[in-house]
Assembly symmetry: C2
Amino acid sequence: MNKALSIALLLLSCYGVAMSQDTPSRYVRLAELEIEPAQMDAFVAATREVGQASVRSEDGCIALYAVVEKDNPARVRVFEIYRDATAYEAHVQTAHFRTFRTTTDSMVRTRKLIDANPVSLATKPGVVP
Amino acid sequence: MNKALSIALLLLSCYGVAMSQDTPSRYVRLAELEIEPAQMDAFVAATREVGQASVRSEDGCIALYAVVEKDNPARVRVFEIYRDATAYEAHVQTAHFRTFRTTTDSMVRTRKLIDANPVSLATKPGVVP
């Protein structure tokens, strides 16, 4: 192997390390939902259920976070992390996700999806992602 | 210990397990930032740096996620998880956070903070949170 090629491979490997630290290949889904206020408790219960089922049973579902805005308790913000796009495609085919959608569709007034690319997914070392 | 007390303690301990699964005591911070387009690369670099420094050196900083909207590459959305409010207060006093703010303040056009309460923070088992 000549010197130029060695340097090129070294640079590529360093780049690979930097990339994996920030896991930019992860597939992230964001959503903003407005929930029927009278249905909020039921929506919260269904969200916790689908979240736990997803991270437990799906290899590629890394995190499913949902929070409610303090200033507007009918507004829920969702932040989901999947290993890659294929893992997300598998997620929406699962029985627990389909049940969640069927159960909650009538509880959701509006739903805005935000497609996003990871910039940094820093998590405590030893923790995925 | 009488039977009623035993049952009460058992119920309390089950409730504790259920609570910890959904970690509602975690302190979550959300933000939406608009970045000067010419400064985006520098902002991304600074964000990765403060993210890695925070999760490595702060006991209570669990995750610091930043993503950029695909439809509006100047808009960054931030989702941070701390052990509790005290851990967040400690975070903003650290040298790496202060450096980040000083370095990036001129790069940020607008900054919207959204206070939120966790509904579900489901993460793959064995993983914090």
